[in-house]
Subunit: 496 residues, 2 copies
């Protein structure tokens, strides 16, 4: 008889492009989401958690930057439902939810949502196939006040999570203005190259003025030496577009919004849609000014395009303006952490009726990375107090100690590994970043005392202290058993 082959062991690995998050990575994100939810709630937004799985039909073909249906999503065929897929963002599900529940929801409906989304894309360094988004949207109103509110809320949110004023800028543009500019230079809305022009403009931050000019006209050789074809515009049209984009260079100051709006008005000439866009921006700017949001926080900026096909009016982007060093050690601005805009056609897919909507999506992981970069989070996190096990048979005594510590609100645990080697217990405490270890051997038990080791001071002394200091500042204390909690508290307070 043939030998039965054993099944090979499974590989202990996440699928490519997925990752796990440990300890403070998880709790820092939870803390940040809670802070953001607090701001959203104060603005009157209601929480919504839609299902992670949607019918492919409901998701539609609105995946950002992808024009084909269902490209880029994780989809499978369900027995009853036909094709279903994991949501790729939180906006497409909102459109479905609003269409489904519109009779029960207030109008306008302000909602926020936070959670993972999934993209079936090629993973890369720092580019994962599951990541968090945190969105706020107002559905059912075309009022520019709703757009202004989203911008104000975004500004408040960034400050609440720990990005100080001056380190960020919410930039606002309007797709209609760009449409107006293109109309004015003779690229009509039916012109097939219009989409190419949009995509090129969206690269402004990457390739700069010169690069965009080249890409709009005859093409460009990039850093790697590869040649990228141009869109083929006449140089004059391209210059008009770039001139519009580079209003950016107007100096920041008291009247920057006014100056930029005036220059936009010029750039759209007599285009109806363009003039409409400028008016909307004017209204947004004046509402924000009335509430005290100056152009140091929220500013009109013609270079904001946003890749998404579905935006129909105002578009926003929150950019962090402080510099970081990139992987090659070069300084660069941290860049975008949130974006959004007005999309008036998403619900219409379901109901046939246009439902105006506007919203913003915060890239949670990018924002966390920024806070780490600024040193706001991610320092070394203190572990629990570790009660060591000197006598295996007295586990109940040690458990009683941790129970006392926990009841006093102190994070604490008993060492649960094999207690035979005491060194291993201290190594464990070290790996857990424990501030304090508690020791009660037979002698201590007999004398009614415990030994308390200040591990932080111990580590400091081991590194820096002279023999004198070592003697003067012992890092281990013997206290009566009844004073365990008080002494541990004293040590922890000192290092808090």
């Amino acid at each position: 008889m043939a030998k039965v082959k054993k099944a090979p062991r499974p590989k202990a690995q996440t699928p490519k492009g997925f990752r796990d998050y440990f300890g403070s990575e998880v709790s820092e994100r939870a803390e940040m989401l809670r802070a953001i939810a607090g701001v959203y709630h104060r603005y009157g937004f209601e929480a919504l958690e839609s299902s992670a799985v949607e019918t492919v039909e409901a998701l539609g073909k609105f995946l950002p930057d992808v024009d084909r249906p269902n490209e880029g999503v994780f989809a499978w065929q369900d027995e009853d439902e036909g094709w279903v897929a994991l949501r790729y963002d939180l906006t497409a599900p909102l459109a479905r939810v609003y269409a489904q529940h519109r009779n029960d929801l207030p109008t306008p409906y302000r909602r926020y949502a936070m959670g993972p989304v999934w993209r079936n894309e090629k993973p890369g360094p720092g580019r994962f196939r599951q990541f968090y988004q945190c969105d706020a949207d107002t559905v059912g109103t075309g009022s520019a006040a709703a757009d202004a509110e989203i911008c104000a809320m975004l500004s408040d949110t960034l400050e609440v999570v720990g990005i100080p004023r001056g380190d960020y800028l919410v930039r606002v543009n309007n797709r209609k203005v760009l449409d107006g500019v293109l109309d004015f230079v003779g690229i009509g809305s039916d012109d097939p190259i219009r989409a190419d022009v949009m995509r090129t403009i969206d690269k402004f931050d990457k390739v700069g003025e010169e690069g965009v000019l080249e890409l709009l006209t005859t093409g460009r050789r990039d850093a790697s030496g590869a040649f990228i074809d141009g869109v083929g515009l006449h140089i004059q049209s391209a210059q008009q577009i770039v001139q519009y984009l580079t209003q950016k260079s107007v100096l920041y100051g008291e009247d920057v919004n006014q100056a930029r709006l005036a220059s936009m008005r010029q750039a759209v000439g007599n285009s109806q849609i363009g003039l409409e866009g400028v008016s909307e921006l004017e209204e947004i700017a004046s509402l924000l000014a009335a509430q005290g949001y100056g152009s140091d926080r929220i500013v009109v900026d013609s270079s904001v395009v946003r890749g998404l096909g579905y935006y129909t009016g105002p578009v926003f982007e929150a950019e962090l303006t402080f510099e970081i060093l990139d992987e090659k050690g070069r300084k660069r601005q941290f860049g975008s952490v949130a974006g959004g805009g007005r999309y008036d056609d998403l619900v219409k897919r379901f109901t046939g009726q246009a439902v105006p909507a506007t919203g913003v999506s915060i890239g949670v992981d990018r924002l966390l990375a920024a806070l780490r970069e600024k040193g706001r989070i991610g320092g070394s996190v203190q572990g629990p107090v570790v009660v060591t096990v000197m006598d295996r048979d007295r586990m109940a005594d040690y458990q009683t100690m941790v129970a006392e510590l926990r009841n006093a609100g102190i994070r604490a645990e008993v060492y649960l590994g094999n207690p035979k080697n005491f060194g291993n217990q201290l190594k464990y405490a070290d790996k857990r970043n424990s501030p304090v270890a508690v020791i009660e051997g037979g002698d201590e038990k007999a004398n009614g005392v415990v030994q308390i080791k200040d591990l932080i001071l111990g580590a400091k002394l081991a590194q820096e202290a002279t023999l004198e200091e070592w003697k003067e500042r012992p890092s281990q204390y013997e206290v009566p058993r009844g004073e365990l909690v008080a002494k541990v508290k004293e040590i922890l307070t000192q290092w808090a």
Copy 2:
């Protein structure tokens, strides 16, 4: 030319078995998870968030209650990875994470995890294909102290989220004891009917003593009239098993654990594995007693089986003992909200080395339902203050008011719908459950005042008040514009 058919509109619907969560459903769950995380953290557990997607290979065939591989999960074929699937619980991913990162993790590794899991099962009333779990596990120690700690933590957790002592019971058993009993009655561990016996025993809570006796022997006709085949045990063996299970009937009191342990020792006779199981339970009970957890909170109970094939030692279940009315108006106990146990073989699949582990999983949605049942959460939630729009051109004024209110920490919003019909604005405030509406028309603006409507009092008066009371207690106040925030605060405090 044939007419181009328009694509039909997509249906605005979640896939079957999935649902959306709105407003306080979301925030109450978030609050509960935060409270649970607080307890877990205090016990020294570290957060872990593993990816939602795993390779099918890594998930294995450990889906509870299903013996075939990959049955019951949502799986699809990835271009690079072969088959991948959504996690169906948080334990299988933990085994994968521990195997993958074991060199970087402390041993023992205490971790908690919370998040949605997905089951490809037939949905039913209250039975969804996506739901939340909240787990805590200790990997890398076989110590009964780890099991005891999980039970203590579970007890603390239930009290922290709002289940008072006396309304819950953590019941502890040991699979080895049951194995011992079966050994003792002559059903060896290789006997193919053993699994059937286990499954039958797990139905004890549903069918009772008589039912289990019937099912273990000749079979039983259920309430619907259908006949369920029996396992075919001899009546004497079945009685021995049922006698072991019904130790449950020992009265609660000072020595219930001691009495039950003694009776278990009898029931396993000379079975080695059985005696081992009883010793482990004794150790757990004595550790818990030392920490002050009496049998009113955590109790040895031979009727706990847990369906999962992978448990190898102690098993736990948290049961809510208060009564609710079922859909037919009959009283019944609320039942199980959490369960777990020791599983020593999960990591071995990956590494070949046995890694002992123990843990618990809280059914978050069940626990939320219990809190709602007890009236601890889910009351009517106050909405935001609504600033109405009397004059469309003065949106900036209204926005300034909400900005002031928000800066004072008050949840507030401007009405963003079409302001033409003032009645609609008040209907909106009503739908939002707003406590206060603010009104500033042209006259008010000219006189430097605002009208503040106490909507809660207004609703009360409309329902109950006599004309006298109505006159005496106006529900609308005119105050100077500068006193807007103070007056709103005063009203809110009154209704807090």
